[in-house]
Symmetry: C2
Subunit: 113 residues, 2 copies
Amino acid sequence: MLNPDVQPDPAPIFAALGDRTRLSLLMKLSDGDARSIAKLSTDTLLTRQAITKHLRVLEGAGLVASLRVGRESRFAARRETIDAARAYLDRVSGHWDDALARLRTFVEDEPAG
Amino acid sequence: MLNPDVQPDPAPIFAALGDRTRLSLLMKLSDGDARSIAKLSTDTLLTRQAITKHLRVLEGAGLVASLRVGRESRFAARRETIDAARAYLDRVSGHWDDALARLRTFVEDEPAG
DNA sequence: CGAAAGCGCAACTCAATAGTTGCTCTTATC
DNA sequence: GATAAGAGCAACTATTGAGTTGCGCTTTCG
C-alpha cells in the first residue's frame, strides 16, 4: 500500500464542487447508483455535451468514476473523495473550538501589534 | 428569526474553496484568530492586491469576515459557513450506506435498461 | 442490413477569474 | 509635520471555464 491517504491538493476537488450543475449531478448520483449520460442529461436545460464536460470535470477530481457499458457511459459517485473533502473541512473547522476566539483578536487586539 | 439556516446555493462556497491560495489563507485563519492583509500577504509570491482579491472572494462566500481596525483590515474565518459546506457534503455522502451499492448498478445492470 | 440511440471529438464564442501595475487615501510613528 | 505602513480603487492582460454546434463512430434493435 503506497500513499495511504495522501491528498496532495484538495483545491481541485472543491473547484469541481463549485458549480451548481455539477452539484446537482452529484446529488442525482448520491444514492450510489450509476447512471448513463443520457439519463443524467434529462431534466436539464443544458445539452448532453455540457453535461458530459461537467461529468469529466467531476471524474478528473475523483468525485465520480465512469465505466463504459455497451454503448453507454455510466457514472457513479465516489464516496472516498467526498469524504476526503469533508475531512479537509474538518481540519479547517476543527482548529478552534471556542466561538469567542473569533471575536477575541477580531476586535480587542492593539491595532498595530 | 427569519431564514433559520436556509442555504440556497452551496456552489459559491465550494467555488471559493476551489483555489489553492484561498485554501491556504483559510488554513492560516483556521485557529480562529484575525489577521491583517499585510500579515496574510507574507510567505507568498503573490502581490498584496492578489491576496486582497482572494480575501474578498472568501468574504463574498461568507467564509471569512472582515473588520477595519485602525489602518489595517482584519480577516477571520467564519466557522458557520465552513460547517454549512460540511453539512452539505454529509447530505451527499450520507444518501447511501453500502459500498456495494456503487458496484451494483455500475456493472451488473442490463446495458440498455 | 438499416435506423436510431448513445456517445466522443473538435472548433468556436462569451464570460469570468487570476494576477499585475499605478495611483491615491488614511493612519500610525518619529 | 514629514514619512512610512496598510490598504482601497481602477485599468489592463492573459488564462480558464461554461456552453454551444457540427460531425463521425459504435452499439443496439427492428
